[in-house]
Symmetry: C2
Subunit: 286 residues, 2 copies
Amino acid sequence: MKLIKKLNILIVGLGLLGGSYAKGLKKLGFEVNAITKEQSSIDYALEHGIIDNGTTEIDPKLIGKADIVVFALYPHIFIKWVKENQQHFKSGAVLTDVTGVKGCVVDEIQSILRSDVEYIAAHPMAGKEVSGVENSDDAIFKGANYIVVPTEKNTQEAIELCSNLGELLGFAKVAVLSVEKHDKMIAFLSQLTHCIAVSLMCSSDDPDLVEYTGDSFRDLTRIANINDEMWSELFLSNKQALLEQMDIYRETFDKLYNFINNDDRDGMRDMMRLSTKRRREFNKKV
Amino acid sequence: MKLIKKLNILIVGLGLLGGSYAKGLKKLGFEVNAITKEQSSIDYALEHGIIDNGTTEIDPKLIGKADIVVFALYPHIFIKWVKENQQHFKSGAVLTDVTGVKGCVVDEIQSILRSDVEYIAAHPMAGKEVSGVENSDDAIFKGANYIVVPTEKNTQEAIELCSNLGELLGFAKVAVLSVEKHDKMIAFLSQLTHCIAVSLMCSSDDPDLVEYTGDSFRDLTRIANINDEMWSELFLSNKQALLEQMDIYRETFDKLYNFINNDDRDGMRDMMRLSTKRRREFNKKV
């Protein structure tokens, strides 16, 4: 299957990301339908021309028309939905998703899925601190990374289709990673950072701090404003990889702590020079 | 002494902050002179109209003319400079500074200082990730906090003069804090955040990470690009307060670690809700 504009796309889960996919794909000329939990989300999306058709029901005709189905659901709901409704997929349909962790969904779904339908995992690394289709915006994809996460069960054709989808949506970079490498990278770059921000924000109850804070504290805690339902599920869905990264970070933090405690200025300066060197590499690649 | 524009101001240490003070004060109409280590900094400042006169020497006449002396030096150099050169101050002169920690300088300088000269400590909470008079810019004060840090040895007149200086320079907020409260607040809001950023940046040597990073990691490590000479001195100058804040933060981080390790989703969600509530208070006060 080639990614051409006469394809029919079904979004399952019309929240911030599902809505942003729908907006981007509609603008590109695809027929975009949606199934989601709340009628209000469907009403909003229809009123604003974000989708062509939508329902809160399991509509076999709407599902059966879709060439591509994009799942934008919490991991456990995604798995449950596929188990209960996969009989309605069109033969040859391609499923993809936006789930932020992969080990907990990819193997299970690929093992239960009908053999005439293919699931190719993807992780659009884009978001906002707000949720809901009302806040959806396909501009969040600009400058962001899109990662395709295939297994040996995937065909080259589906990997290419999924990559093309990321390119069409306007992502700055489309990459391909294994499930293990993806989940380790997410544990470090995304989940550990959220753990740090939450911990820092919970470390002081002094209400006066807000009066004196500068950019550093604001930067480090921006993501402490967090969707607790989603992130607690994502943390547990990637538990071992996350705990490993937390261990490594805590060892590094303790090393710095000990340098300070022992007045070891050279040790501190070595770490600071390393962090400066590494951070400058990041600046170059913005 | 009232802060009027015929006053003569001497900047000691013409780097990023000293240069930004000089620029702002010259624009306001003050006579601004400077003493600093490098002739190139004096040359640059004279060429760009940032100062009226400047030297790398200890010039008794230049020092003796100053009504206000602003020290923008590393803490140990600041103390040494005052010890060696205080005989040159004009009687009635007011000294102030930009030092980021206070316990390590305020008591010592106030205890050795001539009785006819007053030192009132201040901390302009502004900066950039670059240094030197060439990068100085008084626009960095806009939107930033300026904290006056008096002790019982200070007069009300000097506290007011120092506060007025912050207002004139364009700081968004001028506040007064005790040495202890200032240093505890700085340990938490500024030093701990730099420790976290450095530790996070030193926690992985995977060169591929830069390819996949998003805003979260970039935000948390922006300040990992750090002046190791200055920050190692600042950390050690505020060692006990910093270690206390590092302890509290590490306990909070460990609490979250244990919730994840024990699959305690309610515990995780409680922390996330607390961090979200607190962070939203910060958003309101931007």
